[in-house]
């Protein structure tokens, strides 16, 4: 049976489970809403992954993982663009920059990150090409799928729940006015604090996600946490639309209104 279909009917987790149990060799091609992913397997284990034209070369992966400095990366691009990843890997190992384990670990993490992204794709056509193997000039890995499958199943449940809680990213957020609403017992990560700094009824959740470079799942997760803590609530977006949220000093550009605002602040502080 040709392994093809739509993610609406068959999730990425289910596909990985099938590939694992059937010890499949070949490449799964998934055409998502705006990107296409290719994930190669050998005997049921993850070998390679790439999304669209994103640079999955060894040099790029190591640079993003901060194993290569920007200078080293540029040097490789300029002077070693013609050599394969395998040759580059050997050069780096022989030169003592990295160990084989370093290289494989970073590649595995990169491929795992791609799979994690795929877990958020709920729509798109897929097919499995039995004859397609990883590119010859790239380094393959052998990564067991079990942990990825468990993580995928957990994320799927979470994704469904988060979508129920936050069905639309075009809503805006505001801090709650409820007396007693506070941050007690809420420890936020750096990324979550960054989201908090953009909270303003003029900014939609989608705009905040774009500005903070969070994907749909991540921004829903963060916003859900803030909603559960009673710190924020959803609201309709106020004001004209803007493609990028801004963190402005004053909510108005009118100088007189700015001065009036400061005077209001002064009056309020005096009255405390």
């Amino acid at each position: 049976m040709a392994l093809r279909g739509n993610l609406r009917d068959f999730t990425i987790t289910q596909l990985l489970n099938l590939i694992n149990l059937a010890n499949k060799t070949g490449t799964l091609v998934v055409e998502g809403p705006s990107e296409t992913a290719k994930v190669a397997f050998r005997n049921g284990k993850l070998a390679y992954a790439q999304i669209d034209q994103e640079d999955s070369s060894l040099a790029s992966v190591l640079h993003r993982a901060k194993k290569l400095s920007s200078g080293q990366y540029q040097s490789i691009q300029q002077r070693a663009a013609h050599i394969s990843d395998k040759e580059l890997g050997l050069l780096l190992i022989n030169a003592g920059y990295l160990s084989q384990e370093d290289i494989l670990t970073n590649l595995q993490q990169h491929f795992t990150d791609i799979i994690q992204r795929l877990f958020t794709w709920v729509e798109g056509f897929f097919h499995f090409d039995n004859d397609s193997l990883p590119p010859d000039d790239r380094i393959s890995v052998r990564l067991n799928l079990e942990n990825l499958i468990i993580e995928g199943a957990r994320q799927m449940r979470e994704w469904e729940q988060l979508q129920d809680e936050i069905p639309s990213l075009d809503m805006a957020l505001k801090f709650t006015d409820r007396p007693g609403a506070n941050l007690r017992n809420v420890n936020l990560s750096v990324e979550e604090w960054r989201v908090v700094s953009y909270i303003n009824p003029r900014n939609t959740i989608r705009q905040i996600a774009r500005a903070t470079k969070r994907n749909d799942l991540e921004i829903r997760r963060i916003v859900y946490g803030l909603l559960q803590a009673g710190l924020v609530e959803t609201t309709r977006r106020e004001g004209a639309s803007s493609s990028a949220p801004t963190v402005r000093v004053f909510p108005t550009e009118d100088k007189e209104k700015q001065k009036s605002l400061v005077n209001r602040l002064i009056d309020r502080i005096r009255s405390l």
Binding site: D177, W193, I269
Partner: protein, 180 residues
């Protein structure tokens, strides 16, 4: 609803939490812990940072948020994030701990580089007998005579109000000077 932001910064244990707590209408907590629970999405250990956060509702149309920066140096990458869009900032300095004065100076310079907004330096714990004299602190902190260095007791609401008002007066003054 319009929102504006001020940042309260300074070395660890300078009194940032107490400062915000004195005027905030919501409770303020400042704790830090490492988390590595099974519920975390990443298999890597992650550090969370709970920063001070306070609020003063001005009227039905305007709210002032007070953000306190993490005191420990290893979280200084948060300063730039917090400084975005601030009206001005307050640098808290513990007047009884001269060993922190150099760090306070460094924090002040860093914040001023992020955003050339008005600021006030608050010499905290001036009620303690070990507190340095304000003018001696000005010399050690190498503050220009035009920089406001104001005596403060962060647990005293009136004292905190004074600091906030001094900052607001500076903001207003800068706006008026900008028009000339």
């Amino acid at each position: 609803m319009q929102t504006v932001k001020m940042v309260v910064t300074g070395p660890f244990s300078a009194g940032k939490t107490e400062f915000i707590r004195s005027v905030s209408e919501i409770d303020v907590v400042s704790t830090e812990r490492k988390i590595s629970s099974a519920s975390e999405k990443s298999v890597k250990e992650a550090t969370t940072v709970a920063m001070d956060f306070g609020r003063i509702t001005v009227d039905e149309d305007l709210v002032l948020y007070l953000f306190g920066t993490p005191g420990q140096r290893r979280f200084d990458f948060m300063w730039e994030i917090l400084s975005e869009g601030m009206l001005g900032f307050i640098v808290m300095v513990d007047s009884t701990r001269p060993e922190t004065f150099r760090e306070a100076r460094s924090i002040l310079e860093t914040f001023h580089a992020y955003a050339p907004t008005p600021y006030v330096v608050s010499a905290n714990k001036q009620d303690m007998k070990e507190a340095w004299d304000i003018e001696d602190m000005r010399h050690v902190l190498r503050l220009d005579s035009k920089v406001k260095l104001v005596s403060c007791v962060a647990t005293d609401r009136d004292s905190v109000k004074t600091i906030l008002l001094e900052l607001l007066y500076s903001i207003l003054s800068e706006m008026e000077n900008g028009e000339k």
